[in-house]
Symmetry: C2
Subunit: 192 residues, 2 copies
Amino acid sequence: MSDRLTQIADAAVHVVATRGMRGLTHRAVDAQAGLPQGSTSAYFRTRKALIEALVRRLAEQDTAEVTDLVDVTDLDALAKGSAQVLDSWMTTGRERTLARYACLLEATHHPELRTILTHGAQSRDMARTMLERAGVPDAERQGRTLVAFIDGLLFDRLVGAGALNAPQPGTPESITDLTTAIRTALRAIFGH
Amino acid sequence: MSDRLTQIADAAVHVVATRGMRGLTHRAVDAQAGLPQGSTSAYFRTRKALIEALVRRLAEQDTAEVTDLVDVTDLDALAKGSAQVLDSWMTTGRERTLARYACLLEATHHPELRTILTHGAQSRDMARTMLERAGVPDAERQGRTLVAFIDGLLFDRLVGAGALNAPQPGTPESITDLTTAIRTALRAIFGH
DNA sequence: GACTCCCTTCTACACCTGTAGAAGCTACTC
DNA sequence: GAGTAGCTTCTACAGGTGTAGAAGGGAGTC
């Protein structure tokens, strides 16, 4: 992806995160990217193309973020590591996460955006692998359940009621809080 | 709420669910409600007022849906009951659920919509009560975690990857699938 | 230098949206 | 029947938005 294109896609992510899908207009992206009016429109003639670029950008950044928390023997460490990742998605990665949720919702009525549904495929694969190694039966399904649980935590903290109740993301308290919650989820699946 | 107002609010819910927040325009709601152009605009002069009405309507219908699944002694039954509720939110209540997600996301950058964050307050209260009765320590927080997990399942199935993988909502398979997943969550919290 | 190609910027325009106010209608009061 | 209050429908309009195409500019080739 050329520089300009990435620049525009990133600006689009920012716009969607801060103003919602409704705020995503060619001119808003121009302004956000600090480019002259018409630039976004020139690169992505249609709005659909712009959204697709944005979705691709999100997916791209996702896969770039490869984590390796695969030590099944120490579930406490695993919980802590996951909590840190989750917390980063609520702080430095906040906009990306919000934009992703917006796109996921959009994909509900725009099937061509379904690529974004591969989001978390990595996490799911990792979960499955771990569970298999640990000899948990029905690892595939259990892995998906685990990821759904943990995603539920993220959604709650970021856009749900947890945004009011839970500790401020980025703080040690937040990490601790997330760690215990994730540890609970792991206990559910692994049984200990 | 008068008839017309409810009619408009309901149409607005449908529009948001099917076309997203971006599709929510006065005229679209008119069309959806089968009312002459200008009606929605007359009742809700500003778009903000319309959204607020829509959020209120969602909250209203939520509280109308009082469930009583409070038999802590039988976690299997509890799981099954919850699964049925969850499944109904993905079938008959699908649009409402989607509209709620859209509004939650909107509330992220529009604090005045935060009322919607009280969504699930009932579920959380119920969870807390149950956990207290069962003698689980830190019932408040654990309850919130439990609800976040279960909401995660819902989100996954409805707008996440589960929309592709999980069994078709409304089928017995879906209920079974949800039941085991919820049972897992309960096991995590209750320890058995 | 003239030409060409490609990237970038500008301009145009039909259509959509939010919002306001005027006009019309209905039912009820005197 | 005249009047009136309140709901409902229509119309207007300023601005925003999606999209297309024209204009500009700068590097590379002959």
